[in-house]
Amino acid sequence: MNSGVGQRARDTLRLFRRSKEAQIGGVIVCGFLLLAVIVAVSTLLGIQITPYDPIQQNVGPALAPPSLSHLMGTDINGRDVLSRIIISTPNDVGIGLAVVGVALAVGLIIGSVAAFRGGLLDEALMRFTDVIFALPVLVIAMAIAVSLGPGVSNMMIALMIIWWPPYARLARGEALRVSHQNYIEAARLSGMSTAKILFKHVFRAILVTMLVYATLDIGTVILLYSGLSYLGLSVRPPQPDWGEMVGSYQDYLITAPWLSVIPGFIIAVGVVGFSLLGDGFREALEAR
């Protein structure tokens, strides 16, 4: 069993290495993750790694175009845009990881319990999942956001509440697939409790598939979160965030179009990275 999962993961990785697109995605994702960790750690330690203080005003002239001293230019308050973009990385990447992580855990439990218990509980859990799944995510997230009030953690909670249904569906299908395999039957016959079977065998067996889906999904969460942030529902000024920057710099489209374009482009690059990586994993998993 253990070697089975290990073998699966190894096979997937081997096929993955053949795909150039997946590798590009991997490089982008690793870059973003690394930057996020470095920024988060340095913020905790109180070390400034950005070229300028991202909050400090008038570190340069207002609305200066990109130059050597300010690689991405400056905003209306003379703040360095590059520094503001760098400092926002842990926020956007972190929310992607956190929302997907929670969705995966919740979905894993709901889906596999539904599959293993069956009957009325299965029916009830899956119909509930269907209904939540059919809700328009962005709009509901906004409604939740409005009642909780704006803020990074509130946006995260709003997304977590509605993000798990596809994971529950996936987990149920996968759990049903493994539930008829011999080692599970054997565990059941040996008198192991359902909870123990789930934790010891099922979660392990279906985790690879779930993780592949999750990788593909992180980009979508970042995309959606950037939308909420763009609408001003996330960080409070003067804290920067990619989506928020596009939104608030939109007023200077004629005089300084790069201000909005650059953070928007950064979001797109990050999402492309996760999509390529996730696609690579998925193809490798399917090809096996």
């Binding site: 409005v146 609408l231 001003g232 489209l253 909005s260 979001i267």
Partner: protein, 340 residues
């Protein structure tokens, strides 16, 4: 399962989803902290306490929760979504009836562009599998669906409206023109009926950039699904049989393969519609297009709760209806469901 029962089940499911949305918005609307009335009326609640009392009375905001829920549903069924503080306390329903047609217009054009782009690129991509054209198409749709709608909209706005000045940068029509008399409620359709060509042309020029922006972030879903299902179908036995019979390659591709691959496109189209509808929120905001999305953004900024929740429900309704339409279409095109 026969088609009728299938459709009936989908309708019941749609209603359940709507009830869930309504319940959710109700719970949210009652959880704005201690004072619901203050939250609903904004600043004016403290300035005009007598107005606040009247409002609480009218919407039964001081009654027990189940009673409130009853009146909430009753109000909804009567088309009463409350008053919108950000619009001078105009009824939310009125604001929505003015803005919804514009959003539908925009979504319609975006849908048409998206389907044309999505299907033609999907076909090309499959026909030129692993050739440079396929690779560039894949890069194009990946960039499209990975980009936030507001980013694509801004790029189009900067390039085609601000730099080249080919299209207007905002609005839904030239304000100097007289709008058509209301027949269907959709201004562009009405102007066609009335023969008001200048209004129609002006509307068309205003709708192109926003709908193109929306289409660019959504067509990729179609292209991707169509491409992969075409590639799968082309390797199936019945295609090999058709080829073996000597059917020419174009007939094989368009008559046998494409028709079957389209089933998966119909399945995914409901997802596409959801993206389109929610995308209007950003695109309308950037192009100052006077639709429901722009009203939602303005309501968010002004903490106009009735506005936000009203638009949320109408968006949900539109999405449920379009998903239902996609399900019914699916029943029509999939022979397994039709004949089985």
């Amino acid at each position: 399962m026969n088609v009728f029962r299938y459709v009936l089940r989908r309708i019941v499911f749609g209603i359940v989803v709507l009830v869930a949305v309504v319940t959710m918005t109700f719970v949210l609307s009652r959880s704005f902290g201690s004072n619901t009335v203050a939250a609903w009326l904004g600043k004016s609640a403290s300035i005009h306490p007598e107005l606040a009392a009247l409002y609480a009375e009218k919407y039964h905001l001081n009654d027990p929760i189940p009673v409130q829920y009853y009146y909430y549903i009753l109000n909804l069924l009567q088309g009463n979504l409350g008053l919108s503080p950000s619009r001078g306390f105009q009824p939310v329903v009125e604001v929505i009836s003015i803005t919804l047609p514009f959003t539908l217009q925009l979504a319609f054009f975006a849908f048409v562009i998206s389907v044309i782009l999505g299907i033609s690129l999907g076909v090309l991509s499959a026909q030129y599998h692993h050739k440079p054209l396929d690779t560039s198409i894949r890069a194009f749709y990946l960039a499209g669906y990975s980009s936030p709608p507001f980013f694509v909209a801004l790029i189009l706005l900067i390039v085609f409206a601000l730099i080249f000045r080919m299209f207007p940068s905002g609005g839904a029509f030239d304000v100097a023109l007289t709008p058509p008399t209301v027949v269907t409620g959709l201004p562009m359709l009405d102007s066609l009926i009335e023969g008001n060509v200048s209004y129609f042309v002006s509307s068309l020029r205003h709708v192109i950039l926003p709908s193109l922006a929306l289409a660019l972030v959504t067509f990729g879903v179609l292209t991707r699904v169509l491409r992969s299902s075409l590639l799968e179908v082309m390797h199936s036995n019945y295609i090999r049989t058709a080829r073996a019979k000597g059917v020419d390659e174009n007939t094989v591709f368009f008559k046998h393969a494409l028709r079957n691959a389209m089933i998966s496109v119909v399945t995914i189209s409901s997802l596409m519609v959801t993206w389109l509808i929610t995308g209007t929120i950003f695109v309308e905001n950037i192009f100052a297009y006077p639709g429901m999305g722009q009203y939602l953004v303005a309501s968010l900024a002004a903490q106009d709760y009735p506005g936000v929740l009203g638009v949320t429900m109408v968006f949900a309704l539109v999405i449920v209806i379009s998903n239902l339409a996609a399900d019914i279409l699916y029943a029509v095109v999939d022979p397994q469901l039709r004949l089985g």
